[in-house]
């Protein structure tokens, strides 16, 4: 039996140690915010936080998880969005939206480490998350807005 703390709740699962966290979350715990895009940690759609740090859950074996997991569902809610989510709403970033949970989790983790990023730092931090619709210009703008909000709080 594996114990995971997901979005503040302890969950017990009977899965293989090498099952990627993504599939434990999606198919076992029915937490669907993290998305399957590539399965090889290249696209970033599956990004979650482990103790606040962005991790590609499709390449993170359940047995190696050492910390509390936060998914997009645990970051904020439609009623009380996290500052990054609020910035994503303000800039209307999403088109199909499938990559955006991963983008938002990546940005939230990045802004925790760097609350006053310049353009180059944003480009570096966000370039390993793929968006097929081409929302990058708005992702850039939303990260800047979120940084201001978080820095000011």
């Amino acid at each position: 039996m594996t114990k995971l703390i997901v979005n503040g709740i302890e969950r017990t699962l009977d899965v293989e140690e090498d099952m990627p966290l993504l599939w434990a979350l999606r198919d076992e715990l029915k937490i669907h915010g993290p998305k399957y895009g590539c399965g090889i940690a290249f696209c970033g759609a599956c990004t979650v936080h482990i103790d606040g740090e962005a991790v590609r859950s499709c390449q993170m074996p359940v047995g190696d998880v050492d910390g509390e997991i936060t998914t997009i569902e645990g970051l904020g809610s439609p009623e009380a969005p996290h500052a990054v989510q609020a910035a994503w709403i303000e800039h209307q970033v999403a088109q199909c939206g499938y990559c955006q949970a991963g983008q938002i989790m990546q940005a939230a983790s990045f802004l925790r480490q760097n609350s006053d990023p310049d353009d180059a730092a944003i480009d570096d931090a966000m370039s390993a998350n793929l968006c097929r619709c081409g929302t990058y210009p708005r992702i850039r703008a939303a990260v800047k807005t979120a940084a201001k909000k978080l820095g000011g709080s």
Partner: protein, 735 residues
């Protein structure tokens, strides 16, 4: 009998949505061409006012026949409806229409068969989303539906309160009586259902609009920013099993043999079974299904087309010969004479096969019982899905329900339904058990019906600093042949305009102007990719035109404007993009250059200017300016998103992406080998919509075609190096 009478009474209220072109869509009660699909499902107290709106105690539901692949189709339809119905758009629920003829896409028919779209629509009703057609198709229909509903609800309130309807107002989901009393629409639904619908409604003048043309919030933006938007891949239900399929990557080839002895023993595996062209694994978790599928040893039969890219290029080269296979001509002036009288400039261009690769891989969830078939999936073609299900399971069409779910991208990918057919096959073998089938990313890449590769040859002359003759031959497979045979069993008996789309239909007035398409034999199966034929013909046409303009010593922007002098809307688009960029010329010195391209596609005249700088580390794309004539910008924020997103999509593929075939399938089977654009490479993009024309147009696709040629032309202006083959990275480095 009893049931029929009840339905007839309850649904007396039906909107009449007269539509241009003389086809009545929803006047179904008396002289209906198509039955209203909602009637059978209505509960007591609900009224279906048109095929598009349902009103009950819980509020207003927009039954939208157009799928949302991410382009914002649900949102704009909600606003079109709300503008006349006087409801809060963010409170309108959205539900997808089930396949029905009343939802036929007449605008798409118009795109396939110009001037006769309504005929094609009636002959071959396609509830289909594509061709940037949602806005043109729905612009009038949904506002009329909203207005008809509003006026009928007023009649209902007038009847209940013995008032004249013209004394009543509507606001925010309520009819307002002269006394100030407010009655919720839902409370009027039952009365409204018993009276005749109001016809001859007058649409509001745009000056009265509250939403359209203003900055509005996409109705799905909160859900998509908080992880609460469910896509097809997120379907869950009691008893669901998780499946995947490995099919022959030589698409259409069969299975010689397979050995699943190891896979069968793996944890969580319920069942392994053959399906068409492949093998399916059914398990209790998608990852376990993926792992087991990988452990099956499969020997494939050869695919039904040449196995390598090298062979395919040879076939294209062989077919680029003037002759009887020419399928379409643009012929102005006397090209042959002009070519004989001047120094001929000649160049060849090549574009590769491309994958759609939306980020949500193909998936479907199917539950089949002896009574009915339920299909939950992201699809642009529910009509075809239903027909194919009927054929496979033997159920009647009325018992097959296609629930169209939001899609994690498409770009044309979900105009095909192989993944649904596979899921149907699995679910039919285990009736009563719901099955969710998901492709791995690798399966998705290797089983895409791809954007065709294409080869072109331009020949032309210049005279007195002007372009004198332009002759372009394009050879390409037929998308219509490949795609319609898969979907319908045969291709419609009309020429495949996609071979020359974006090439032979441009509004240039070149004195001697000829564009000829040659249909290549079928090779890898192909389909529609965002902007279809224009996605490659824009590149061929605008790169070659740029070479001629350069040879003439002319300015690439000014010469294009001169050549478009007979099409004032195009001139305005180019003038505007020139203004936006502060155009002073294309060769700016110090390794800096600008490229221009113009393409008319899907009725939208679109021009783009790209500025690049050549550095020691490679080319940096710094700025992009775009202008497009769309008649009216209904949703400025989403217009900007679609236009700039189309540019990013096009640049990424032009720079970095190709599919190269070996052993019948592409070597590129995941994103590391097919990167597209990344955020750090994304330039500053400024776009503008022009409203000089009288036709409303959609912007999902037209931003794509000019981007690749504008980039190649900019690289030439910066470096003097003409790159005539995509992807560009093979010839030049990008930062």
């Amino acid at each position: 009998m009893g049931k029929a009478r009840t339905i007839a009474r309850r649904t007396f209220l039906v909107g009449s949505v007269a539509v241009t072109g003389g086809v009545a869509f929803s006047v179904w009660r008396v002289n209906t061409p198509f039955a209203n699909p909602l009637l059978g499902d209505l509960k007591d107290g609900e009224a279906a006012i048109t095929p598009f709106i349902k009103i009950d105690g819980s509020g207003v539901t927009l039954i939208t026949p157009r799928a949302d692949k991410g382009q914002g189709a649900y949102s704009i339809q909600t606003y079109l409806l709300a503008e006349e119905l006087d409801v809060d758009p963010l409170k309108v629920k959205t539900s997808v229409g089930k396949p029905a003829k009343a939802y036929t896409n007449f605008a798409l028919g118009e795109e396939i068969m110009p001037g006769r779209g309504h005929i094609l629509g009636k002959l071959m009703p396609m509830q289909m989303t594509g061709g940037s057609s949602t806005v043109p198709d729905m612009y009038v229909r949904l506002r009329r539906a909203g207005a008809a509903a509003r006026e009928t609800l007023k009649e209902a309130a007038a009847k209940l309160h013995n008032l004249s309807a013209d004394k009543l107002k509507t606001e925010n989901g309520h009819v307002i009586l002269p006394s100030g009393e407010k009655i919720a629409y839902g409370a009027l639904a039952e009365t409204a259902a018993k009276i005749n619908p109001v016809k001859n409604v007058k649409l509001r003048d745009p000056s009265e609009w509250k939403f359209l043309g203003r900055d509005i919030q996409r109705t799905d933006i909160v859900a998509k920013s908080t992880g609460t938007q469910d896509y097809g891949i997120d379907m869950e239900m009691e008893g669901l099993v998780y499946a995947t399929v490995r099919a022959n990557p030589g698409i259409g080839g069969g299975v010689k043999s397979f050995d699943a002895s190891d896979a069968t023993k793996m944890r969580g595996v319920h069942k392994i079974m053959p399906v068409a062209h492949g093998v399916a694994v059914i398990a209790d978790n998608s990852w376990r299904a993926f792992k087991a599928a990988e452990a099956i040893n499969i020997e494939w039969e050869p695919g039904p087309y040449p196995p390598t890219s090298a062979q395919m290029w040879k076939i294209l080269e062989k077919n680029l010969v003037p002759g009887s296979k020419a399928i379409k001509n643009r012929k102005d002036g006397n090209v042959d004479a002009a070519l004989k009288s001047g120094d001929v400039i000649e160049a060849q261009y090549r574009v590769p096969y491309l994958a759609h690769a939306p980020l949500e891989p193909m998936n479907a969830t199917v539950l089949i019982t002896d009574e009915r078939v339920d299909i939950w999936t992201g699809t642009q073609i529910p009509d075809f899905v239903q027909k194919h299900a009927v054929k496979m399971t033997g159920h009647k069409a009325k018992d097959v329900f296609v629930h169209v779910l939001p899609m994690g991208g498409s770009f044309g990918r979900r105009l095909e339904d192989t993944y649904v057919l596979q899921t149907l096959e699995i679910a039919n073998s285990m009736r009563g058990t719901p099955v969710k089938m998901t492709w791995t990313r690798e399966e998705d890449f290797s089983h895409d019906y791809v954007r065709p590769m294409a080869l072109s040859r331009g020949r032309g002359t210049v005279k007195d600093g002007k372009v004198e003759a332009f002759d372009l031959d394009i050879v390409c497979q037929s998308i219509a042949k490949s795609q319609f045979v898969r979907l319908m069993g045969s291709a419609p008996p009309i020429p495949d305009t996609s071979i020359t789309q974006g090439g032979d239909d441009q509004p240039y007035s070149i004195p001697n102007y000829r564009v000829t398409g040659y249909k290549a034999p079928e090779m890898a199966p192909v389909s529609s990719w965002r902007s279809v034929g224009a996605s490659h013909n824009g590149f061929h046409h605008e790169c070659f035109l740029d070479e001629l303009i350069d040879a003439a010593g002319a300015d690439p922007l000014k010469e294009r404007i001169r050549l478009l002098q007979n099409d004032p809307l195009s001139v305005k688009v180019l003038e505007e993009v020139g203004r936006m960029s502060g155009w002073t010329g294309h060769k700016l010195g110090n390794g800096r250059g600008r490229g221009v391209a113009f393409t008319l596609s899907f009725g939208v005249r679109t021009a783009e200017i790209i500025e690049v700088v050549n550095t020691e580390a490679g080319i940096i794309i710094e700025k992009v300016w775009g202008a497009a004539e769309v008649g009216k910008v209904l949703d400025p924020i989403n217009f900007e998103a679609q236009f700039s997103g189309g540019i990013v999509f096009a640049l990424g593929h032009a720079m970095n992406c190709e599919l190269t075939y070996e052993d019948y399938y592409p070597k590129q089977t995941n994103y590391y080998a097919y990167e597209g654009l990344k955020l750090y490479q994304t330039p500053d993009i400024q776009v503008k919509g022009l409203e000089n024309g009288d036709q409303i147009k959609g912007m999902g696709e037209p931003g794509v075609p000019p981007a690749a040629p504008a980039l190649a032309n900019a690289i030439f202006a910066a470096t003097g190096h003409r790159i005539r083959q995509l992807p560009l990275y093979k010839a030049i480095d990008f930062v």
